[in-house]
Each structure stands twice: as structure tokens, then as C-alpha cells.
Amino acid sequence: MLAKRIIPCLDVTAGRVVKGVSFVELRDAGDPVEIARRYDEQGADELAFLDITASSDDRGIIFRIIEQVASQVFIPLTVGGGVREVGDVRNLLNAGADKVSINTSAVLNPQLVADAAGRYGSQCIVVAIDAKQIGSGRWDVFTHGGRKATGLDVVEWAKKMQCLGAGEILLTSMDRDGQKNGFDLPLTRAVTDALEIPVIASGGAGNLQHLADGVKQGGADAVLAASIFHFGEYTVQQAKRFMATRGIEVRL
């Protein structure tokens, strides 16, 4: 049967992988190509790259990184950050990305999701949703790294994105991101139950039990984590073995 996926996420700026808590206190984690190769060797099922470069002058760096990774690592690569138009999707795919994730621009221009999926296929369009809890069992979509409220309900928004052609949802809890106290499981469960397309749980993984909980309790099809892998706390292989002991089907 289909395995649940573990996806290490590399936040990239100025050619380096960094990780911070809620987008502040950035800590250098190393060279993206080297890190990508390491995770591939450890058995990562996919890799996600998020270009968090603020200046548009430096946008070219991510293309060179993806080109290098794609010539050495033969697992799916998802790349996001600053995707504003169909041309950005094309450029990332041409550089070697297999999937492109669209976040803020999907909110500003939902038609972009439909256009990109129509042109390149749903299989390569991931819509990233940054969610914040606003009440019991209610979450709203935020943009611009969690700074801007949109007033959109996360579950309704995810359904709309599925309808427009998203092939997958990358769901990040902004409340949990960088906190290392586990995924927002009710959020993950609410979204995955409402959709036909796969959901990647993100934001808050601090240990291996959290990853297993994301799948078993949250119902996620894949789990994304950054810091627990970057700083050597766990290898991807350890994470998979742990999940297997919890009865989760993984690719070992």
C-alpha cells in the first residue's frame, strides 16, 4: 500500500538553509545541495524548498540550487516562495522542480492556481496554506508569512483550491510553526477530512511522536519537518523506523 511520506523542508535565503522560530532568529543550517543529498541518502520521500529571500534581486539563487539538486537527487522536489505568475511556475519546473507551491499569490489571485494546474497539471501544483486558530474549531488563512489576516476560513479555502486544480495542500499551523510542540492535529484532521487530495501537515514537529501523531491523529498523508532534521536531532531514517513501530506504512 501507499506509504505515508516524510518531507524535510529547507528554508533557503541567500544560498543557505536557515531555520527560525516564527520567521525570526534565523539560524544557519548549511548548504542546501549538501543537505538535500544527505536527506536523500537517509531515505527522505520528497524534499521541499521554500525560498524566503526577501529581495527580488536574489531570486536567481534558488534556480541554481534547484538545478544542482535535481541533477543529483532523484526524488520529488517541491519549491515555493515568491511564486506570483504562471511564468514563475514554468521557471521553477524548468530548473528541476517537480511541484511548485503557491501561497500568498493563491489568495491574491486564485485564478493563478487554475491557470498553472491547467497548463502543467494538478500533480505539480501544491497550494500552501498558513493557518491560525481564531476560535474553537475555526482557523483562518493568513498570508505574508503569517502577518496578514485574510478572513478566509481554512477548510473552505482548501476545498476551493482543490476545486481550482490544486493537487495537494501544504497545511502549516502558524500557531505551532517553530514551537516544536506538535502539529495542530484538529486543524490537520479538519482539512484532510474535507478533501479528496493529499494533505501535508506542517508546523510544530519537535519529536518523532509528533510526526506519527500527524498521520494517525491528524490523518495527514505526509508530514513536513525542518529543524528536527537540520540540527541532527534525528535522521529521516530514524523517523521512519519510529513511524513503522507505530504501525504506519513507510518506505524504509
Binding site: L2, G121, Q123, E168, L195
Partner: protein
């Protein structure tokens, strides 16, 4: 002379396929081409596909590549990947479109509201790493078609004469990377070279003479995928 031509009919991203072929065949001349003549003259052809099958069929026509694909699929080592394999069949329920009709059978969608043994929802697209159960018997259509694929696919030892050459060195039940909502249903069970479960078995690899087709993406399936591509570039059916 071009060793491997990857057919480019404007649908999606062929970069990954090209990169993976370069990795397994560094000395081969590999080209991504939308030129019918180049494709027809190449030693081997890889026919990928992404997106929706009606769009793929239309683009193939529009770019005048249909005949080159039809011809090479009949007489050269030919590898169809994902929708590239689906297009080899008669018909798809996706957009109710006719395929190239080289292989008998239909392309259909996974059922809605599928559940696994634990009762969890199975998402469509079927996306991620799934096990591939190889069917071990003659690759050639002239083989013993009365031998139905055994449910376990474990009837014969590894490396036996009945294993298709493209599976050489790949363990039984190895995982490959999939992303698709439709799958092929060949009329002739003898075409089936591999199946996968979601939750019921579906065909994920087919072969007929010089032709091999896979639903998964070998170019994204790490070691096992590269091995299959390496087997393909060395295959002399």
C-alpha cells in the same frame, strides 16, 4: 545518432526524465525533442506525460508527433511513463478521449470515497511511494498467455528467464513514486508486468515486445527508478 529521444509535446516538465537518463547513461546522446524526424531516427524513445490525457493527445496531434510515436512504439525500445503509458491504450474515461490504440484496453479513474483497511480515506491523486509487485513471466506477447498473474507475483525466483529485463536487479515489492488519478486496464492480462494496491490491485507496468510502460515515475523513484531506466537504455528486445 541519438541514443535516447524524450518526446516533447509541450506537456509539462521533461527535465527530470532527461536528468535521470543522463545519470544512468552518461555516455549516451540523450535529447528532448519535438521533432518527428529526430524521434523516428533515435535508437530508443521515452514517452513521458503529465497533466490531462485529452490535452496530451491534442498536443501530440497538433505538433505532428503522433505518427513518430506510433511508429517507434512498434519497432524500437520504447518506454511510456505515466500518461505516456496511458496514451498507448485505446481509450480513456478522462475527457472520454481516444488513445493511440497500440494496446487494447481502457484508462479509468480511481473510485471516489475509497478507504484503507483502517477506514482512513484514500486520497486521489494516488500520490507517493507504493510497492510494485512484478509479474514474472515472458515479456513477449507470444509467451504463455494462459498463465494468469499470480496474486503474490512470487511464483518464480529472481533473475529467472521469465523476468522482464527491465526489472533486472530490482527487488520484488520495491517502492516507486506515483502521482496519478487514472490507471490502465489492459484487456489482455498477458500485458501486465506489474501491479500495485490502492486499495485493490491495479496495473502499473505493461509490456509488449519492444514496448514497456509504467504508471510510476522511475525518474523520481531514487535507486530503483534509476535502475529501471538503466535497464531500459541497455535493453535490446
Amino acid at each position: 545518432m541519438i541514443d535516447v529521444a524524450v518526446v516533447d509535446y509541450g506537456m509539462g516538465n521533461l527535465r527530470s526524465v532527461e536528468q535521470a537518463l543522463r545519470k544512468v547513461a552518461p555516455d549516451d546522446k540523450i535529447i528532448v525533442s519535438d521533432d518527428a524526424k529526430v524521434i523516428a531516427d533515435a535508437r530508443r524513445v521515452v514517452f513521458p506525460g503529465q497533466g490531462a490525457m485529452p490535452d496530451c493527445m491534442r498536443e501530440l496531434e497538433t505538433r505532428g508527433l503522433r505518427d513518430a510515436v506510433l511508429e517507434t512504439a512498434r519497432n524500437k525500445p520504447f518506454l511510456g511513463i505515466c500518461i505516456g503509458m496511458q496514451m498507448l491504450f485505446d481509450h480513456s474515461t478522462e475527457g472520454n478521449v481516444a488513445g493511440l490504440g497500440i494496446l487494447r484496453g481502457e484508462v479509468v479513474r480511481f473510485a471516489a470515497n475509497m478507504r484503507d483497511a483502517q477506514g482512513d480515506k484514500l486520497k486521489v491523486p494516488h500520490m507517493g511511494w507504493n510497492r510494485v509487485r512484478r509479474i514474472e513471466r515472458p515479456a513477449s506477447h507470444e509467451g504463455d498467455a494462459t498463465v494468469a498473474p499470480s496474486p503474490s507475483g512470487r511464483g518464480l525466483g529472481r533473475g529467472s528467464a521469465l523476468e522482464h529485463p527491465l526489472w533486472a536487479g530490482i527487488p520484488q515489492d520495491e517502492r516507486f513514486y506515483f502521482v496519478h488519478s487514472y490507471y490502465v486496464c489492459p484487456q489482455d492480462a498477458a500485458l501486465v508486468q506489474g501491479t500495485s494496491d490502492y486499495p485493490r490491485p491495479f496495473t502499473c507496468a505493461v509490456a509488449l515486445d519492444n514496448l514497456f510502460g509504467v504508471q510510476f515515475h522511475p525518474e523520481k523513484s531514487q535507486t530503483a527508478g534509476l535502475k529501471l531506466l538503466q535497464n531500459f537504455v541497455q535493453w535490446n528486445p
